[in-house]
Symmetry: C2
Subunit: 469 residues, 2 copies
């Protein structure tokens, strides 16, 4: 689910200062790194803060440059303005500029310090130290996160409720990534987004993949090259597999980013990209051309690409929903090879995509070869409780119905303080984004509910702190 | 607080079978040990178990051979008999026969995989796998532990409530080991035990140490050798310091093991050793002789020692309350040098012992030299919540008023499910020991309360499991 793209200079950028925190390299082995530290980046603003008294809103950064998430999570700053909070966006180790070993971070064994547990300990230590430094030890801390960052917010509340009083976890697929649920769910739900625009759209995509498959079977590689405007003709089953992956990924990204206005979270995306994709899929009689043009919405939004290069636009990895490109994608591939279980498949029956499996065995083979690691598919169920959440409190699980990750998360309220908020017109963590005039009512209402609950958590935590003094 | 001693063949030994579990070597770094495993020992009995239905009572083993704890925790088996439970005693990694690297386990960097976090993950994984293996996936699990083992039981419930439904933590000093509280508390409370037998007893001990100190200042080493029946005359301030440590340790052990009947938990101890010590301290006019004889209660219980060897009877380490001897003591020293904060001091003002400091700086210096590690004095406050326990549930904190560890633990009930049980006549986790006719009423009553609460937890957990099916 790694997202990459252009960082836009939005109005929040000048508000946030970029700083570095001296972080322990290995929280879980006192001998491994000789007590070494690294510099962990974070962004901070006290512009809205009621100094020493207002709450702390802490974003648990995910798989990428922290600026990307900060600039696409305007809600947190708007809420900070309302509730007079200090805001911190912390960058996840091994992403962006928070590289424990610089360029060597992605070598074996240096990569081994990239785990969820280390990231959570980083955030806990950082919060404790920043609170001391800023004379804010009595200030309640609320964590925020979207997607994998939302998972981390949940885990912070599960494992460090002494540090954080509550968590807003937007689009956090804590169940599917723990190996709970149906491996067909993800691509089925991507398909459902296109089907809901029009069943014809879904049929057109499925038929286009059929036609492509037939050309591939007949080894019509030249034709495939011209139909898809590929820089180089495919010449093997592997190339075709790569093309399938690249195309499927375009649909995945459009489903996730199906926002009601143009965004720049992952390249440039038009408003309602799924609708645009369906218009494109149904725009002419040549389905293959339509498929190519639909993929172009993602891969060639500016029209600057002269041809599609199969292996540079998309990189296959241990995450069938995409790892993105660059160093960050390597780190995410490693996480998908170790703790984060993403064995999702498409099969052309419950979804519109070509059959592409990613079984536990395939994952294990790939990961052993790529990173010399054996994945632990059940680890999250033990370490982060799986669906056994009954003892947890103060977590909001928000999900948008348009988001293919939603059904891998918690969709039903579990107790008075484990609250599911579903946003019918929402895509991937739309609620974390700043206000936009095109926002549907459902997200406005979700944000209002979230704000009220968070204010209540802060109030409760203040009372608790008062009583304990 | 490491305890060592003779393992007695009690009636429970034949009940327990010794087995080995294939355990992951490093839960927190997928690249460090190339996916290697080691054999972790555990003891198990299903003699009392209502198969597939009765609860699982799981002892979270502490700093020593698991047989020692199993054979001194008869209450758990008695309770299993009552409540038809499966019983497992799991050995802590790096102790007893559970050595990840065999004899090399105590080398640097191999020792680095000895952490509380690894131990907790071991227990969680072991419970999950044993439940599968024994068709017991629906059986509620309750954890038990005494002293450091009790701390682990608490942490299991804090960090893995998905795995364990409740914890009985007997004499678990979770606050003092997190650096919370007064460093003078421990030896003050040792002193109080002797004082409560008779203030004269306390005064005699203090005066004996004064006399010894004066001899040392005058370098009367020959006299000290003869008075204390040392194998070799002391010849330096270091030797005197060692003698002080050895003597203080005898009082510590007698205070901890102040049981109403003879025990063999740490060598042979008479019934009411504190009373015996005070009788000895007040038995003749030569206080130095009395002090020597009092130390002999611990070090020479059989009378077999011809002389006291300063450096073999007691080893100074990062735990001022003693690390014991042998390999286990090395492992505990390492833990006291990393996560477990035991900066306790005696000062001859708030206690009856010679002034012996163990500050954070002294600890740091020693640990860097001995193990190449820098201790993290605040780590437990972040990682295991310190005193911020308000979100936790289903933990019994039991403590005996005679136990010098008691006031480093939780002494007051914090909520309806965080229950403190205080045992006025109890020493170190007396409640975990099997029934004895000499047991005071207070421990019988504590065990009854514990049994009732645990039965209730099991019932509640059963209901929860039923609802979630």
């Amino acid at each position: 689910m790694k997202l990459r793209g252009t960082v836009l200079t939005m109005s929040f950028r000048p508000v946030l200062s970029e700083k570095y925190f001296t972080q322990t390299m290995d929280h879980f082995n006192f001998n491994s790194m000789g007590n070494r530290t690294f510099l962990q980046r974070y962004l901070i603003t006290d512009k809205y803060w009621d100094k020493g008294h207002g709450p702390i809103f802490f974003y648990t950064g995910n798989e990428g440059d922290i600026w990307e998430f900060a600039l696409n999570s305007g809600f947190i700053l708007e809420l900070a303005n309302q509730q007079r909070a200090l805001v911190v966006f912390a960058e996840h180790r091994y992403y962006g500029k928070s590289l424990p070993f610089g360029k060597d971070s992605f070598n074996i064994p240096q990569i081994g310090l990239l785990t969820v547990e280390q990231a959570l300990a980083d955030y806990s230590i950082m919060i404790r130290e920043l609170k001391k430094e800023l004379t804010a030890t009595q200030c309640p801390v609320i964590v925020f996160g979207g997607s994998y960052g939302g998972m981390l917010s949940v885990y912070m509340r599960l494992k460090y409720p002494n540090v954080v009083a509550g968590a807003l976890a937007a689009s956090a697929p804590i169940l599917s990534t723990a190996g709970l649920g149906d491996p067909r769910q993800f691509f089925r739900d991507v398909t459902a987004d296109f089907e809901s625009v029009s069943p014809k759209c879904r049929d057109a995509v499925r038929e286009a993949f059929h036609q492509l498959k037939e050309l591939a079977v007949e080894q019509e590689y030249g034709l495939i090259q011209s139909e898809f405007n590929l820089c180089k003709a495919p010449s093997s089953a592997q190339d075709i597999h790569q093309l399938f992956g690249l195309l499927r990924n375009a649909f995945t990204m459009m489903a996730m980013m199906d926002y009601p206005y143009p965004t720049h979270f992952m390249g440039n995306m038009p408003a309602y990209p799924v609708k645009v994709a369906c218009e494109t899929m149904l725009s002419g009689s040549n389905l293959l051309t339509n498929l190519k043009n639909t993929a172009g919405i993602l891969y060639n939004s500016t029209g600057a690409l002269m041809c599609f290069d199969l292996y540079s636009l998309y990189v296959e990895c241990a995450d069938p929903t995409g790892c993105g490109l660059g160093f960050d994608s390597m780190a995410w591939d490693y996480q998908a090879c170790t703790e984060v279980n993403l064995c999702f498949e498409s099969n052309n029956v419950t979804d519109m995509f070509p059959p592409m499996t990613f079984t536990g065995e395939e994952r294990e083979r790939y990961c052993l070869k790529r990173w010399s690691v054996v994945p632990r598919p059940d680890w999250f169920q033990v370490q982060f409780w799986g669906d056994a959440l009954s003892t947890a409190t103060n977590i909001i699980f928000s999900n948008g119905d348009l988001d293919p990750w939603a059904n891998g998360g918690v969709r039903k309220t579990l107790s008075s303080s484990l609250i599911a908020i579903n946003i019918p017109e929402g895509a991937h963590h739309l609620d974390l984004r700043g206000h936009n005039d095109a926002d549907p009512m459902s997200v406005l209402s979700a944000r209002k509910t979230e704000a009220d609950i968070i204010a209540e958590w802060v109030k409760m935590e203040r009372r608790r702190i008062q009583l304990s003094l």
